[in-house]
């Protein structure tokens, strides 16, 4: 097999977005009828690489890429995803792209329906031809047959179990006459284990028929069980390109996350902290894209507790749910007192504060001045920075106190601005983030939730924000719960780090634990405390 020319090859693909290199000299090949597993952390470059392959507009709009993509030995460069489809490359996305009110058949042949011509076609064009339903059904059935699964061709998508939707999507891609390469992005993410098994069997079936497959998944045991070859990306580079035979989940996990795998026993000795500040039991949160299914943990008084995990696994849902921003259920106790969920006011009144990952949407009043932004929540919740007249009938803002407060925080957090009256939208991302922190600090919370505090800000500002958090924690004894996609920053300031996978906590590790263990947790391998070395 190996001396045959590969179906697809990437040669020296390099791509940067405005100077930030996201792909660096990526090269690998994929043979006919082979399954290639593409693994890597969020931001490792998987999505960008697939965008390059599909000719997504975002690539050309940001200056194109260098290197060549070869399909069947021919250099190709698709201008739109439709060109890629015409060349026989199919893509199955993580989100379903199906028409809910259509049947399986109608979805599989969507916009490629079989038609019968009639006189109206001569006058008004192709689209007036009548659908040939029996033929459409036969085509759908043959696609389902190739996949080797059971699907009712006449069932409405809206009434299907989630696994069938995924099969319908794949059947739609292989219904194309010329499909040679199939890209599946996290196809098993929404499936139960038994459904995932059937899907993997279907993929092997397709590969046996000569269709090549790129399989992107963070469930490493699935990657290992189905793939012939595994390519690991990290920071935009191929760090490992190897046959799947003989590789273990632990190997792949350490390739994914590891700069150097054995750097245990790093910064900061474990602190001995008394009592529990926050106890969470069986929490579920319905936050779109960040569903939390069942999470229990307890945060000690004065601790910095980290929540990590891959995007979409639910780590952001935890603070958002506890603070009442999305529908949630379960028990949350703050210093032994139960907190009412689904009510932001109750959470704030209880003494918790939140720095949202959605800085511009939830965090800031963009068109208002800095003093307004910083004092706003304290004013609403605690009635501070207000002057009372006429025995409480009239309350006006205390501009002087607000100014003093703002100047204090501008100095404390080193916020670069022209003064308390500058508009929040005029600041850079890092300084906006500091305003968000100041706003939360002004509440003097007993527990502070911080969600993605360093997202979208530059390296220098990142360090400052993290330093501020650490100082605030040490100086005031404030308990901090920090959710972040960046494992490194969690490990650098947290006392303990919980890794969330599929809406559940896969495990809680000390920051000094080997990276490979974090990687295993992210890959959905439960590591119980006893097994740890």
């Amino acid at each position: 097999m190996s001396n045959e020319s590969p179906l697809l090859s990437f040669e020296g693909i390099t791509k940067d977005f405005y100077g930030t290199v996201v792909l660096k000299d990526v090269s690998f090949t994929l043979g006919r009828g082979r399954i290639l597993g593409l693994v890597g952390e969020n931001g490792a470059g998987k999505t960008t690489l697939m965008s390059v392959l599909f000719g997504m507009p975002v690539i050309s709009e940001t200056g194109g890429f260098s290197g060549t993509v070869k399909l069947d030995g021919q250099a190709v460069s698709f201008r739109t995803p439709f060109d890629a489809l015409d060349a026989g490359i199919g893509m199955v996305h993580q989100e379903f792209s199906l028409i809910p009110g259509f049947t399986t058949t109608e979805n599989i042949v969507l916009n490629r329906e079989s038609v019968k011509p009639n006189p109206a076609v001569e006058v008004f064009g192709e689209r007036m031809s009548v659908l040939d339903r029996p033929k459409m059904r036969a085509r759908a059935e043959s696609a389902i047959g190739r996949l080797g699964v059971k699907l009712d061709p006449d069932m409405l998508v809206s009434e299907m179990p989630v696994g069938h939707k995924q099969f319908t999507e794949i059947a739609r891609e292989i219904n194309r006459d010329n499909v040679r390469l199939l890209v599946l992005d996290e196809p098993t993410a929404v499936l139960t284990e038994s459904e995932a098994e059937v899907l993997l069997a279907a993929l092997r079936n397709l590969a046996a028929q000569g269709i090549s497959i790129i399989f992107i998944s963070h469930r490493l045991h699935e990657v290992l069980s189905v793939c012939d070859r595994i390519v690991t990306l990290r920071d935009g580079r191929v760090v490992k390109d190897t046959d799947a035979a003989g590789v273990t989940v632990a190997d792949v996990a350490s390739w994914m996350v590891g700069r150097d795998v054995d750097d245990a026993g790093r910064k900061g000795a474990a602190r001995d902290l008394p009592g529990a500040a926050l106890e969470v039991e069986n929490l579920w949160v319905d936050m779109p894209g960040e569903t939390v299914r069942n999470v229990s943990f307890s945060v000690r008084e004065g601790e910095i507790f980290g929540i990590g995990g891959l995007a979409g696994q639910g780590k952001l849902g935890i603070p958002n749910g506890i603070m009442g921003l999305y529908p949630a259920g379960g028990t949350v106790r703050l210093h032994g007192q139960a907190v009412t969920l689904d009510a932001p006011r109750a959470a704030l009144d209880a003494g918790m504060a939140f720095v949202s990952e959605d800085r511009r949407g939830v965090g800031l009043l963009l068109d208002e001045s800095l003093d307004w932004n910083i004092a706003f929540t304290a004013m609403q919740i605690k009635g501070e920075y207000l002057k009372t007249y006429l025995g409480g009938l009239v309350r006006l803002r205390d501009e002087k106190a607000m100014k003093a407060l703002t100047e204090e925080y501008v100095k404390l957090l080193d916020i670069k601005c022209t003064g308390p009256k500058q508009k929040a939208k005029e600041l850079s991302g890092g300084n906006q983030q500091k305003i968000c922190l100041a706003k939360a600090f002004a509440l003097r919370p007993s527990v502070l939730f911080v969600s993605e505090p360093t997202r979208g800000i530059d390296v220098g500002a990142k360090a400052l924000v993290l330093d501020n958090l650490r100082h605030y924690n040490r100086d005031f004894g404030t308990t901090i719960v920090m959710a972040s996609s960046e494992l490194e920053e969690l490990r650098s300031i947290c006392d303990r780090v919980a890794i969330v996978d599929e809406g559940r906590i896969a495990g809680i590790l000390p920051p000094g634990a080997p990276l490979s263990e974090f990687g295993l947790l992210m890959a959905g391998q439960k590591v119980s405390e006893e097994v740890q070395p």
């Binding site: 028409i99 916009n111 031809s129 319905d286 379960g330």
Partner: protein, 370 residues
């Protein structure tokens, strides 16, 4: 979906229909009108209105809601009729001629409306409604100032005494009920406008056939999910424009059929309520903003007009004042539209919640994976 009959679900799905049935069931005996009169009126009004209501079906299928912009088509039909009357073309030929004149105008206006609505995705209904008001101004400019001035009008009988502009009321004697009487059939005490019914029947056949075409399938797909349709390669914008263009052209023909039955035309007002009445009829027939069928059209026309026939008389009998009945029927029609919109929004949210219900409630509701 569910095999068992759930009275609450049935009521929620057909609330508007049920309310109209109850109200008219009370009003019919109170009005004291004879069954024969009511039935004859209904036969006439089905012929008069059904075509206009049909023009709303395709945009609903394409997910654009109720096309209140159909008044643009009505205006095109009126311009066609003015020219036909001026040229003195008699009978059915006059109607055909009016349609021919109105056709390019309707196609053009429909294209404009489609382009505008494509820029207002998600707010098609209110945009279409306001677009109707705007085009009303343009219509006045054309009919009141340009006709007889830029557009040659020869008949002094239809022009204002100042020499240009069309009179407020246009007598349509040359084409009055020409389609209705072309094939009027007497069955017992009733007279049926069979030719009009045949035109409507033809339209039904067209719509059924259209649903089975590739274009119809594309419209259904777009109506449910524009993003998915686009990524499947269906040209969303173009298909939406075609839906609005067909709707506008049908409204043009519908307005001509409506006016030939009425026999005269309030030049500057005839189209103002067209969209409202058509929408009310369709919604009363049990349609929603996202789903409408051919039976909805007929049920709606019958129910709405049954109420329109009996309400003034019922008001007169009960309160000695026909006006009260008229107020009441207008209020009910508006309420029907408002209620249909609210129920639609409420149901959409309930469905979204139900779709996510599996994710809620932690392990137990999620089926206890692991």
């Amino acid at each position: 979906m569910s095999k068992t009959f759930d009275p609450r679900k049935f009521l929620a799905d057909n609330l508007v229909v049920v309310i109209f049935l109850v109200v008219t069931a009370f009003a019919v005996p109170v009005s004291g009108l004879s069954a024969q009169f009511i039935i004859q009126e209904l036969f006439t009004r089905i012929g008069r209105n059904a075509f206009l209501v049909f023009s709303l079906l395709l945009p609903i299928m394409a997910g654009m809601g109720i096309n209140f912009g159909m008044v643009l088509g009505a205006m095109a039909g009126e311009i066609g009729l003015i020219i036909a009357v001026d040229w003195g073309i008699l009978g059915v030929n006059g109607l055909a001629f009016a349609s021919l004149v109105g056709m390019p105008i309707a196609v053009f206006l429909g294209w404009i409306a489609g382009e505008v609505l494509n820029r207002a995705k998600g707010r098609e209904m209110v945009t279409g409604y306001i677009l109707g008001f705007f085009m009303d101004g343009v219509y006045q400019l054309v009919v009141l100032y340009m006709m007889g001035y830029i557009i040659p009008i020869r008949s002094p009988a239809i022009t204002l005494s100042r020499g240009y502009g069309i009179r407020n009321t246009l007598g349509l004697d040359s084409v009055r009920q020409s389609l209705d009487n072309l094939l009027a059939v007497r069955i017992g005490p009733y007279v049926l406008p069979l030719a009009t019914y045949m035109v409507i029947g033809l339209l039904c056949v067209f719509i059924i056939w259209f649903r089975r075409t590739k274009l119809g399938q594309d419209m259904r797909a777009i109506g449910q999910d524009q993003g998915v349709s686009h990524s499947a390669g269906i040209s969303v914008e173009r298909t939406r424009i075609i839906a609005i263009m067909i709707s506008t052209v049908l409204a043009m023909i519908g307005q001509i059929i409506f006016l030939q039955n009425m026999g005269n035309m309030a030049t500057y007002n005839a189209h103002k309520q067209t969209g409202f009445f058509a929408a009310a009829a369709l919604l009363v027939g049990g349609a929603s903003v996202s789903k409408a069928t051919i039976p909805n059209v007929f049920i709606g026309v019958v129910l709405l007009h049954l109420m329109y026939i009996v309400m003034p008389r019922a008001g007169a009998q009960l309160f000695g004042e026909a006006q009260i009945g008229e107020f009441f029927r207008d209020a009910l029609s508006y309420a029907a539209i408002a209620m249909a919109l609210v129920i639609y929004a409420w149901r959409k949210r309930a469905n979204a919640e139900r779709a996510r219900a599996g994710l809620r409630g932690g392990e137990a509701a999620a089926g206890g994976v692991k």
